[in-house]
């Protein structure tokens, strides 16, 4: 016979083992050797905290009482995980991009980082989950009592309370030790997670061992087992349909909404890919956990004396068969289930309490004093540790007050209905951009109130909180408010009654109020971020231009997340901005980054409020609205990019068409090339020949002689220029040109070009803004001047306005400068614009006789060599050319 003391010893040894495992994991993680700690297997096992002592012991009792209905508790979560692609995947992605710390933080962050919603959700889960923790304490004391008094009855009061007290204290110690090592909830608690994984294996092995013993040790295999089921009191399939559907939905919803499940599923998730494995592995775990429940229940009903507590069959059945070892294993399994649930639930609750209640209150109290003076990090850590102790103390007090017994065993489903109130706000929040904070608050508060009135308070038993008379008649005799018969609907099971009414009112109010109210800008922004998390995984940006000093922010950040981490963030940000040292410019991007980092420690609402103290105006400003618009533009741009990518083929085809058209045009040009070059050479040649013949004939006066010799010289020069241009272009095209880089003012280059082109075209009026031209350049100034000369000369030649004007405008363009030459003529027709930069493309329009058509081709080649460009600028009224000066060449004059 196992003694109570031996049992305590084993339990202590097991706890010591868990401490050792957690320590080892933390040390390995600290050494950076945490690869296997981040495996999908560990992740899947950590999800097993869904199976608490309530399911470990209670499932058998449940089956003994209600047949197969216990399966709904497992089928719901199985379906959620198998359907991970719908909701869980999105939650995990949102959790990571928004650095969500808890389910209260999720709701608060989604609805505009609202402090009020964080408080509402926190209160709701604390009220709902504390009894659940008490239930675990009860299961530990009950399992101890089994060994003291094999009947499973309530043991002696003193030792029972002592067991509960010491369990609670031990759990508090473990949770504080390993649950608050790091403040940033986004960094996983390796020790806790590994300890939970070990416990998951222990409880699965324990239940499987008992099951195998029952089926093959006591019974004679599966066929015998099926025969026994058919002969048992739970042989008939008599499941009420409403409860079957309702409980499946309830367990699926609770799986998503329970704070501890959110903690392991979303917050502790290290890699989204783990979901793919967990999608089948976790249902498999649940299947194995529930596989032997019915056999154990059937054999327990068969073999144990009438009146035995079926909740304890897992323990009492092996004990009654003299299998002490198996019973011990089973005890450890139940112990594991209880402790792992309590640890994670406590961490989750403590995070919420400290982030959404303690720290905001503390901040408000200190609002007038300087925030920098306080040690925020210390306060947050202390708040979290005190919260852990408080949550466990609350559980213990609840356990003592409720006196154990039947009132507690129902609390599992009651807690499920309670946390499920979060579901509409959560699902609505991640799928519907129209969901507003007021809608969420209305739904949560109304659902919470109905749950408290119809299920939670009555669960304490008749006359415990609500007098029996109120239960029967309604408050103040108002019949339709009777807790178990809302609006006169009677005869439904209380859990279903509460679930249906609370969800109905909750969801309706959530939807209606959301549709009637208008969200504030921050809400809308967060809504877009949450709903479109897959299209747009960048973080939020909420702050406009601010006056916060980087140093103040650094001091504050150091106090929250620790000096080293804070300095690392600031250093990275400063480097990214190209600044030396630790103090980056306080840009909206930086503020958003910092806020996100802080949110990982203290939650979105608090981080927003803290940063808000340093940045002008804690309310949303016009700049924020512009940021919202920018965000939308980014999303649009991103999707356009994607579409552009997919339209690549079409673009290529378009480019081919354009290239083909250009080729055709070029071939036409090639044809006219000979004609052109011949014309260009023959025209000056004609004058030269004619006048040289005249001079040779000799019957001219001295003045005429002088004049004609001058004409011959001019035309010869024109011919030389043409040949020079041809050679120049050839050299440029073949890249043999040598650039002579010099420093100089853009203004001087333009001056030189104007005077070089000037004498020939006195009619053309130039409009310049010389102040804009004060730009230092370092480039081949001669070549640049050549381009300008060409453009001015073109305007002189071709501008056909009665009063020709050429505007030269200099403007910043991106990182470089653009120099625009715009005249007031008729411009160049669109069909000609694509060939004007080609060689010999002098427009064949007979009205445009003149140059050789090489000028623009040379300009283009020069600008390409200088690293800039020249383009025709449409839509300027006249002919307009834009010369783009390359980035490296342009330096603003000091």
């Amino acid at each position: 016979m196992l003694t109570f003391n031996l049992l305590v010893l084993v339990a202590l040894a097991y706890v010591a083992f868990l401490f050792a495992v957690a320590f080892a994991a933390e040390r390995r993680a600290a050494r950076g050797d945490d690869g296997w700690l981040r495996s999908p297997l560990i992740y899947t096992l950590s999800l097993s905290i869904y199976c608490t002592a309530w399911t470990f012991y209670g499932a058998v009792g449940y089956a003994a009482r209600s047949g197969l209905e216990y399966l709904t508790i497992y089928l719901g979560p199985s379906l959620v995980m198998i359907g991970w692609f719908w909701v869980v995947r999105k939650l995990v992605r949102i959790g990571r991009t928004q650095r969500i710390t808890s389910i209260a933080d999720l709701i608060s962050s989604r609805y505009g980082k609202s402090t009020a919603l964080g408080v509402i959700v926190t209160i709701l889960v604390v009220v709902g989950i504390t009894p659940y923790i008490a239930l675990q304490l009860q299961s530990i004391t009950l399992s101890f009592s089994v060994f003291v008094d094999p009947g499973g009855d309530v043991p002696a009061g003193a030792s029972r309370d002592a067991v509960a007290l010491w369990s609670a204290a031990g759990l508090a110690l473990f949770t504080i030790l390993f649950g608050t090592r790091n403040l940033d909830a986004n960094e996983r608690h390796h020790g806790v997670v590994l300890a939970i994984a070990v416990e998951a294996v222990v409880k699965l092995c324990a239940l499987l061992a008992v099951g195998i013993f029952v089926v093959w040790g006591i019974g004679r295999g599966w066929t015998d087992m099926l025969a026994r089921i058919d002969a048992s009191p739970i042989a008939d399939w008599s499941q009420p349909g409403g409860r079957w559907v309702g409980l499946t939905f309830l367990s699926a919803a609770a799986f998503l909404c329970l704070p501890r499940m959110f903690q392991v599923l979303v917050v502790e998730n290290g890699n989204e890919r783990h979901l793919v494995t967990a999608s089948w592995a976790f249902p498999l775990y649940l299947l194995l956990m529930s596989l032997f429940v019915v056999p154990i229940a059937v054999l327990g009903l068969d073999l144990m004396p009438a009146g035995s507590n079926p909740d304890l069959f897992v323990l009492t059945l092996p004990l009654s068969q003299g299998r002490d070892g198996l019973a011990m294993l089973s005890f450890l399994g139940g112990f594991s289930s209880a402790t792992s649930m309590v640890i994670v639930a406590t961490i989750a609750l403590a995070t919420m309490v400290s982030n959404h209640i303690v720290v905001p209150v503390w901040l408000r109290l200190r609002r007038d004093g300087s925030m920098i003076a306080g040690d925020v990090r210390g306060v947050v850590l202390l708040a979290r540790r005190v919260s852990i102790a408080a949550v466990l103390a609350l559980g213990y007090v609840y356990f003592r007050l409720s006196g154990g017994g039947a009132a507690l065993s129902a609390i599992g489903l009651i807690a499920f209905v309670g946390v499920t109130q979060i579901l509409p706000a959560m699902i609505g929040g991640i799928f519907w951009r129209g969901a507003t904070g007021l809608g969420a608050a209305a739904g949560l508060v109304s659902g919470f109130a109905i749950w408290v009135w119809t299920l939670f308070l009555p669960s304490f038993g008749a006359d415990a909180v609500i007098p029996a008379q109120v239960m029967a008649q309604g408050p103040w005799g108002i019949g339709w408010l009777r807790p178990h018969a809302f609006f006169g609907v009677q005869g439904i099971d209380p859990v279903m009654h509460a679930m249906i009414w609370s969800m109905l009112v909750n969801t309706s109010l959530f939807l209606i109020v959301s549709m009637l109210t208008f969200p504030n800008p921050l809400e809308r922004m967060q809504g877009a971020q949450f709903v479109n998390v897959f299209e747009h995984s960048a973080g939020t940006r909420a702050w406009g231009q601010t006056a916060a000093a980087a140093e103040d922010l650094l001091i504050m950040a150091q106090r929250i997340i620790g000096a080293a981490d804070a300095q690392a963030i600031f250093l990275r940000a400063a480097q990214a901005q190209g600044k030396p040292g630790y103090l980056p410019d306080v840009t909206p991007d930086f503020i958003a980054l910092l806020e996100r980092e802080l949110a990982g420690s203290v939650g979105a609402a608090t981080a927003h409020a803290m940063v808000g103290q340093f940045t002008e105006g804690a309310s949303v400003t016009v700049e924020d609205l512009i940021a919202v618009a920018d965000e939308a533009a980014q999303i649009l741009e991103y999707s356009t990019q994607l579409e552009a990518k997919s339209a690549e083929l079409e673009q290529t085809a378009g480019q081919l068409r354009a290239a083909n058209e250009k080729l055709t045009a070029l071939s036409v040009q090639k044809d006219s090339f000979l004609s052109q070059i011949s014309h260009e050479l023959r025209t000056p040649m004609t004058s030269i020949r004619a006048f040289s013949e005249i001079l040779r004939d000799g019957d001219t006066g001295p003045a005429e002689q002088q004049k004609y010799a001058g004409i011959i010289q001019d035309e010869a020069l024109r011919l030389t220029r043409l040949l020079d241009d041809l050679l120049d272009l050839d050299v440029l095209e073949h890249g043999q040109v040598e650039l002579h880089r010099q420093r100089g003012q853009l203004r001087d280059v333009i001056d030189r070009a104007v005077s070089a082109a000037g004498p020939r075209g006195g009619r053309l009026r130039l409009v310049r803004r010389r102040a804009d031209e004060a730009i230092m350049l370092e480039t081949d100034l001669e070549r640049l001047a050549q381009v300008f000369i060409n453009l001015i000369a073109n305007a002189q030649k071709y501008c056909n306005a009665a009063d020709p004007v050429l505007r030269i405008e200099v403007a910043r363009l991106g990182a470089g400068y653009a120099v625009d030459f715009v005249d007031n003529g008729t411009g160049i027709s669109p069909e000609h614009r694509q060939v004007i930069f080609e060689k010999f493309s002098r427009l064949t329009d007979p009205g445009r006789a003149g140059g050789a058509g090489l000028g623009l081709a040379i300009c283009r080649e020069i600008m390409a060599r200088l690293g800039g460009g020249i383009d025709y600028l449409p839509g300027q009224g006249g002919a307009a050319f834009r010369v783009v000066l390359p980035v490296a060449d342009a330096m603003a004059a000091q």
Partner: protein, 122 residues
């Protein structure tokens, strides 16, 4: 009465050269540099001979020639086409349009003078 030649040409130096050559021989030379208004100028004068360039601002020499040959009052005026575009297809086009004589630039002064005399003498 001095015989009148209308020179439709846009290169100032070539106008100068041909004016010198012909006026030395006793011709009155009128120069016109614009293609669009050239036809009106012909009708206003009308000259005994037209020397016509092809590449003109506004309107090509070919178009002007076509209009001249279509106008009954002016169709008989001899046209000497003088162009830097010496390709065969240009010459063929000019002949189809009814040019009296087609010459390419650069030219010999004596040859131009001889051809002008010959065309007007006919």
């Amino acid at each position: 009465m001095a015989r009148r030649v209308l020179l439709i040409e846009d290169e100032p130096n070539i106008i100068e050269a041909i004016s010198f050559i012909l006026s030395r021989d006793g011709w009155t030379v009128h120069a016109h540099a614009d293609g669009t208004t050239a036809f009106d100028r012909v009708r206003a004068l009308p000259p005994d001979l037209i020397i016509l360039d092809v590449m003109l601002p506004g309107r090509s020499g070919f178009d002007i020639l076509r209009d001249l040959r279509a106008a009954p009052a002016l169709a008989a005026i001899p046209v000497l086409m003088l162009t830097a575009r010496g390709q065969t297809k240009d010459r063929e086009l000019a002949e189809r349009l009814g040019v009296s004589l087609f010459m390419t630039k650069p030219f010999s002064n004596a040859e131009v003078l001889a051809n002008v005399r010959a065309l007007v003498a006919e």
